[in-house]
């Protein structure tokens, strides 16, 4: 395996608030190989976006970051703001969730791409302009030569997000962080935007950290998946592992809650009962235990570590899950755990 381009170790992010310390990320480790697509999945508040913002050094001032974030072997957490500025855009670029607001309303799309290029490269206006047209063409904007003079409000949501992708590509980054890139979009244009994202990856050779709660998007794009819950990874593995041999009840619940078009039509959507825990203060036990139909006393008392579980694709031990019953869950002993919120087939 080649040297990882991005390596995150023991990352912890706390926010000091009026009500106490919020532990948004409670220890997360992962590596990102060049050109790899890592999907991070989880509910709102599970620490996905905070992880991305910490990587970019964009967290608000009341955040305390511990651990290590190394990009090309360089420790990002030690960098000064000025040095970070050089990494942002050229080394790591970020795509935000809502293209309606992440583009500057008073400038043309072309201006914004040119601005992104010229923030880092010593290019003439004309050369940057030509590159902007080229980038827009690559992400699939029709008539890029004319569209470069359009303002964001003249673009549809999907086109805007593609323009945002073009901006992220502008400086040939090594890593692209995409924070829910399709969440704000119409389902009908999501596929187009994902296509543009794929183009961006193949053009720049960048690795992608894809943050989403849409498992469909992950299934289509990710090589590896990291499932987060309550600020910690609860299952890590290749996409095949996580989808075909989920070994943590939460993953099971996520997969089970997807609507199916091929069902009889009377089936209700399955949900995971309850809500994710508040991240305020400390607690004991598995954070998922209050919602988990399999939870036992062990779960309520000790928080499980990530342990190696059997994998569908390889024997290298890169499929890991944090559950006291990971093996059994992975084998399928518990069947469809969340069926209408009721446990069926639980053999215990």
């Amino acid at each position: 395996m080649p040297d990882p381009i991005l390596q995150i170790e023991h990352l912890e992010v706390d926010f000091r608030t009026k009500d106490g310390v919020v532990h948004a990320v409670r220890g997360i480790d992962f590596t990102l190989a060049p050109g790899e697509v890592l999907g991070i999945v989880g509910e709102s508040g599970s620490g996905k976006s905070v992880t991305a913002l910490a990587t970019m050094g964009l967290l608000p001032r009341n955040a305390e970051v511990h651990g290590s974030i190394r990009f090309q072997g360089r420790e990002l957490l030690d960098l000064k703001e000025k040095q970070l500025t050089e990494v942002r855009g050229t080394g790591i670029a970020m795509i935000f969730q809502d293209p309606m607001t992440s583009l500057n309303p008073v400038y043309t799309i072309g201006w914004q791409i040119v601005e992104a290029i010229r923030a880092h490269q010593d290019l003439s206006k004309e050369a940057a302009q030509a590159r902007a047209v080229e980038l827009l063409a690559k992400v699939g904007i029709p008539n890029p030569g004319e569209r470069i003079n359009s303002y964001p409000h003249e673009f549809s949501g999907g086109m805007r997000q593609r323009a945002v992708i073009a901006i992220a590509m502008a400086n040939d980054p090594e890593v692209i962080l995409a924070d829910e890139p399709t969440t704000a979009l119409d389902v009908t244009v999501q596929a187009q935007v994902l296509e543009s994202l794929r183009t961006a990856l193949s053009e720049t050779g960048a690795a992608l950290l894809l943050i989403t709660h849409d498992l469909g998007v992950i299934a289509g794009l990710a090589d590896r998946v990291l499932v987060m819950y309550a600020g910690r990874p609860v299952e890590v593995g290749t996409a095949e592992d996580v989808f075909y041999r989920p070994s943590m009840p939460y993953t099971l619940g996520l997969l089970g809650s997807l609507p199916r078009l091929d069902s009889e039509g009377t089936e209700r959507l399955r949900q995971i009962p309850g809500a994710p825990p508040s991240m305020l203060g400390n607690r004991t036990g598995c954070p998922f235990s209050p919602r988990c139909p399999l939870a036992t006393d062990v779960c309520r008392e000790t928080e499980p570590d990530l342990v190696v579980v059997p994998s569908v694709t390889s024997d290298e031990g890169d499929h890991r899950a944090a559950c006291h019953y990971a093996e059994a869950v992975g084998r399928g002993d518990y069947g469809r755990v969340f069926s209408d919120g009721v446990v069926d087939n639980v053999i215990r």
Binding site: P105, V106, P142, S150, Y151, A239
Partner: protein, 332 residues
């Protein structure tokens, strides 16, 4: 992704997920679907309509604002033309003393024989000069301080805003009288006067820009440009300021009008522009004693002062309307 799947799934499989995804696309929009490239499917023309052009367009559609602009332009041009090409300079002393308006002296002459038409026009020119200088100084200071305070927040903001409060609580007229007495009189220089007024007029725009920046800094595009590696300075100047330009321009216009009023007040009190320079305020002061007998010495400066200030207020009002986001059909 590899395709071999086992058969005994206990949850929904990603294969199904993937099918669902793509199935929905083709199902919902047959035809448009995954049409990357190709003709412009959105039916929009490539012609761009920038915020600026929209604002200009809206401005030119307001009758009152246009009257204001035309009047102001006419006054400005006339004052320069008269200054250069009229038969009398404002310092020229003619043999006609206290003559009422006539063909040779349309606005009459004063007691030492100055042509009042040349004097009034010179006053208009000086007023405009002073007012524009004041506005430039006030905008420069106000925008800089407001932008820095709003962008950085925290102690920088507190410090700068307390400074604004300090300047605000100064009794403007008293300070002006004190300073202009020391400064303007010495140099007998209108620039000194403009500087003083400018140094006291930036507080309002500073608060305005700060308020704008406080909300702008939370907008996603600011974070996005930071994520692209833009420096703070670049973000402030290139990304945020253009978004705050509306209120700044409107306020600049009002500052121009208000500084003319302030300058006239000072000149009327004998502390503003000093002879042999003229300003409208100075002319009003000089003409007031003879207002009942030699009415032309008083009426013409007053009328032109009013017209000048009114025209600028009309422009300002028009600009405010034009920049008003509620009137906008553009989603910003």
């Amino acid at each position: 992704m590899a395709e071999p799947f086992e058969e005994n799934f206990f949850v929904q499989t990603p294969e199904k997920v993937a099918e669902t995804e793509s199935g929905m696309h083709t199902l919902a929009v047959p035809g448009v679907g995954v049409g990357l490239g190709g003709p412009d499917a959105y039916g929009l023309s490539g012609e761009a309509r920038g915020q600026f052009r929209i604002v200009i367009g809206r401005f030119f559609h307001q009758r009152l604002a246009m009257i204001g602009l035309a009047t102001f332009a006419l006054l400005g041009i006339a004052s320069i033309v008269v200054g250069h090409f009229w038969q009398y300079n404002y310092t020229t002393i003619t043999n006609n003393l206290n003559d009422p308006p006539s063909w040779t002296n349309p606005f009459g002459t004063n007691s030492i024989g100055n042509d009042m038409f040349a004097q009034v026009m010179a006053g208009v020119e000086k007023d405009i000069e002073i007012a524009l200088t004041v506005a430039a100084i006030a905008m420069l200071i106000g925008v800089t301080i407001g932008a820095i305070a709003g962008f950085y927040r925290g102690w920088i903001d507190s410090l700068l805003m307390r400074f604004v409060d300090l300047v605000l609580v100064l009794p403007v007229l008293a300070v002006l009288i004190l300073l202009s007495n020391k400064l303007a009189k010495q140099s007998s220089n209108w620039l000194g006067l403009a500087l003083i007024i400018g140094l006291l007029s930036w507080t309002y725009v500073a608060r305005l820009v700060r308020a704008d920046f406080l909300s702008l800094r939370e907008r996603d595009f600011v974070e996005a440009s930071r994520a692209l590696g833009a420096t703070n300075r670049r973000i402030i100047v290139k990304h945020m300021l253009p978004n705050a330009i509306g209120p700044i321009i409107v306020n600049a216009t009002l500052t121009v009008a208000l500084s003319i009023i302030l300058e006239s007040t000072l000149s009327y009190l004998g502390l503003g522009v000093q002879p042999p320079n003229v300003s409208l305020g100075l002319l009003v002061d000089q003409g007031q004693d003879s207002a009942t007998t030699e009415w032309w010495l008083f009426v013409f400066p007053v009328v032109f002062l009013i017209i000048l200030i009114l025209s600028i207020f009309l422009i300002g009002d028009g600009l405010r309307e034009a920049f008003d986001p509620k009137k906008s059909r553009v989603r910003a």
